[in-house]
């Protein structure tokens, strides 16, 4: 992201612990799913005009040993902030949490987010609420995610957990030591194609893009690969011309990549190619034949009146109906034959 911090985890801060259980000091890693970030950004766009930042709840899963927290879903929580007071709509948060858990029973409360990088007394107050007992994430630490959304600047994401500080109970309530923790953005295979389509709109002024058809997507992929090959060959050429510094590691890497090309007999390729192309074309042909047959059978079944004369009385409709039925069956038998072929293919 804007800056990626490097982390050295000596020990993570000790949170409030249940009596008797050994405090865990294992480092904590936060994984953020893209849709969670997207919905934080969306919420930030929808804040009230006079609001500096907005907050919301993070939902997700926690690995069994508690060292990894996955943030999957978020929802917005209304709050008002003045110079000396902060008010979070707790009732709303509770109801929304209940609604979310109904639909996603596997997800649990893991923390909260705010859309500004600033950490202040109010952050500590809210953090203490989210990590508290009862409704909070206790005994696990609550994760606080800040996503800065200042216009004109990079979107900066940071993750924190906290440790209690303060000598008296009153002081402890509105203070917390925020400790940054590493995070990563992770997306699954299926999300990849979604992200790709979303990314297609990034350089368009209207910020909108249509969804690709199969063949367009293929074209883009091929173009991208060609571009990459171009880049590499340009680099290699400039190395040969002694314009760019050579690197054995890069050379080795490229050689490894080239070695991946399979060595096969031309005859084998020819055979495999023919087999596969035939398979593909046969299935396409069959699919279209089946479609035509079914459509034909339907047409015959419903359009008999135009065939049997427009007399409209029950008898002729009846006869026509039978003819239609027969037509349907004929089509059916043919398609059945086709399916037999298909099974063989």
């Amino acid at each position: 992201m804007a800056e990626t911090d490097s982390f050295l985890h000596l020990a993570r801060p000790l949170g409030p612990m249940a009596v008797g259980s050994a405090p865990t000091t294992a480092p904590l890693n936060v994984v953020i799913h893209p849709q969670a970030l997207f919905s934080i950004l969306d919420h930030s766009l929808r804040r009230n005009a006079d609001q500096e930042r907005v907050i919301g709840t993070l939902l997700g899963t926690r690995s069994e040993d508690g060292t990894e927290v996955e943030i999957r879903t978020t929802f917005a929580v209304g709050h008002t902030e003045t110079t000396d007071q902060v008010e979070v709509d707790m009732e709303y948060q509770k109801q929304m949490l209940a609604l979310h858990l109904k639909a996603n029973p596997k997800e649990v409360l893991v923390g909260w987010y705010a859309t500004s990088s600033e950490l202040n007394t109010f952050s500590a107050l809210i953090q203490n609420f989210y990590s508290g007992q009862g409704d909070g994430t206790f005994p696990h630490p609550a994760v606080h995610l800040t996503v800065s959304t200042e216009p004109g600047k990079d979107v900066e994401t940071r993750a924190y957990i906290s440790a209690p500080v303060g000598v008296t109970a009153e002081r402890a309530a509105d203070s917390a030591a925020f400790i940054p923790v590493p995070y990563e953005i992770r997306y699954g295979e299926t999300e990849k194609s979604g992200l790709e389509s979303i990314a297609a709109a990034r350089d368009v002024e209207s910020r909108a893009a249509n969804i690709f058809t199969d063949i367009e997507a293929l074209e883009r992929a091929v173009e991208e690969v060609l571009g990459m090959i171009d880049r590499v060959s340009k680099y290699v050429e400039s190395v040969i011309d002694e314009e760019a510094p050579a690197s054995t590691a890069l050379g080795q890497f490229l050689l490894n990549a080239l070695a991946l090309a399979p060595k096969v007999e031309p005859a084998d390729i020819e055979r495999d190619f023919n087999n596969h192309i035939q398979d593909v074309l046969v299935v396409s042909y069959l699919a279209n034949t089946i479609r035509t047959q079914m459509e034909l059978s339907n047409r015959l079944a419903t359009a008999q009146l135009t065939l049997g004369g427009e007399s409209g009385n029950a008898e002729s409709g009846q006869r026509g109906g039978q003819r239609g039925g027969k037509g349907g069956r004929g089509g059916q038998q043919r398609t059945q034959d086709r399916s037999g072929e298909e099974a063989r293919a």
């Binding site: 109801q95 299926t190 979303i198 990034r202 058809t213 293929l218």
Partner: protein, 365 residues
């Protein structure tokens, strides 16, 4: 909601919604996932800005692969409990300034198998009960996993709505309305729309900020570990270039065979109806002839005539089976064959490319 009726012409989906739907669908794959979408209707373009999943009604664990078993998730959008859930959720979302108008629902599909009664009934329910201007978004999980995102928006045509409302799916009615399987759905073009913040964010994701030219890697191991080798998030998905075609074809053939079977059953039903109708008709004719003969003899004997239209009470004509299922099936097959066509066009291209690559000279003129 503006009352000026501009017909819906396009659907604009926010990036957030795309991601949410993908997440929900792939989480519950292979079971169907459904949820509600909210947004705004701006001059015929439906802007979808948020979504939330429907809670899944408890389901016995054994009904995983059985499509025939009623799937509670597929029926969820029109379940009573979910209407309440949806209303509640929308009320909550309104408090945080989300465009809280219900504009439809989404469902996940597997290889385009979404043309079924459930979808029809859900969408009918939405267009009738909730709001006329609603859409069904269909996200095809398996096709998206192959490389390119498949997200489509559908509405029921007004013609189909009227027919479905009155359940007019006998052959006679279909002749009159000339409703064909192509007329069931109206597909709307889908466009993905990003907010400014998301555009910024995506640009950032794509190029990790880099101020100094990178040093050449000292060794192969270092190169393989460096961040450049990890595929960038937003490059075209190279899964597209994969040549594994057999699983796709196999699955499609299976689906086609299923459709053929359905078609067969439906035709049989219809034929059964035809036969029983013919039988009843024959009985009626016999009865009428008999009554006529009786009346003739009664007339000869100067007795009062018996009524001749009594047969309507005595015989009951069988009910004609609905043609709806057949229509849907045809639509489904059309969907499959389109899908195969588009797959084939891409695949043949890839295969010729591979051949040309491995056998240079053969294909070069």
């Amino acid at each position: 909601m503006a009352e000026k009726e501009v017909p819906l012409t396009a659907v604009k989906v926010d990036a957030l919604v795309v991601m949410k739907i993908i997440k929900h669908s792939s989480q519950s794959f292979p079971t169907t996932a459904t949820g509600s979408i909210v947004g705004m209707d701006v001059d015929g373009t439906l802007e979808i800005t948020n979504s939330f999943p429907f809670p899944v009604v408890e389901m016995p664990a054994d009904s995983h692969f059985d499509n025939a078993a009623p799937n509670p998730a597929a029926a969820a959008p029109r379940a009573k409990a979910n209407v309440a859930y949806q209303a509640e959720m929308i009320r909550m979302l309104r408090e945080v300034n989300v465009d809280a108008n219900n504009v439809g629902w989404y469902t996940s599909a597997n290889m385009g198998n979404f043309v079924n009664m459930n979808v029809i009934e859900n969408q009918f329910f939405y267009q009738k009960e909730m709001n006329e201007r609603t859409v069904a978004l269909v996200h095809d999980v398996s096709r998206s996993a192959q490389g390119s995102l498949s997200l489509r928006a559908f509405r029921l045509s007004s013609k189909f709505m009227t027919a479905f409302k009155e359940n007019k799916f006998t052959s006679e009615e279909l002749q009159k309305s000339s409703l064909r399987h192509q007329d069931i759905f109206v597909e709307l073009p889908v466009e993905i729309h990003n907010s400014h913040l998301i555009t910024t964010f995506i640009h950032q994701l794509q190029c990790p900020s880099q101020s100094t030219p990178t040093d050449l890697p000292p060794s192969l191991a270092a190169l393989e570990k460096s961040s450049f080798v990890k595929d960038s998030v937003l490059a075209p998905n190279f899964d597209n270039l994969s040549l594994s075609i057999d699983p796709f074809l196999e699955k499609n053939c299976d689906l086609l065979l299923d459709s053929i079977e359905t078609h067969h059953t439906e035709t049989n039903n219809f034929q059964y109806y035809q036969r029983s109708l013919a039988r009843e008709q024959a009985k009626i004719t016999a009865w009428q002839a008999k009554r006529k003969a009786e009346n003739a003899s009664r007339a000869a004997l100067k007795q009062p005539l018996l009524p001749e239209d009594e047969y309507q009470r005595l015989f009951k004509l069988p009910q004609e089976p609905s043609r709806l299922e057949t229509m849907l099936n045809t639509r489904q097959v059309e969907q499959y064959s389109r899908q195969i066509d588009s797959f084939v066009s891409a695949t043949t291209g890839k295969m010729f490319a591979v051949k040309g690559n491995l056998l240079p000279g053969e294909t070069a003129k």
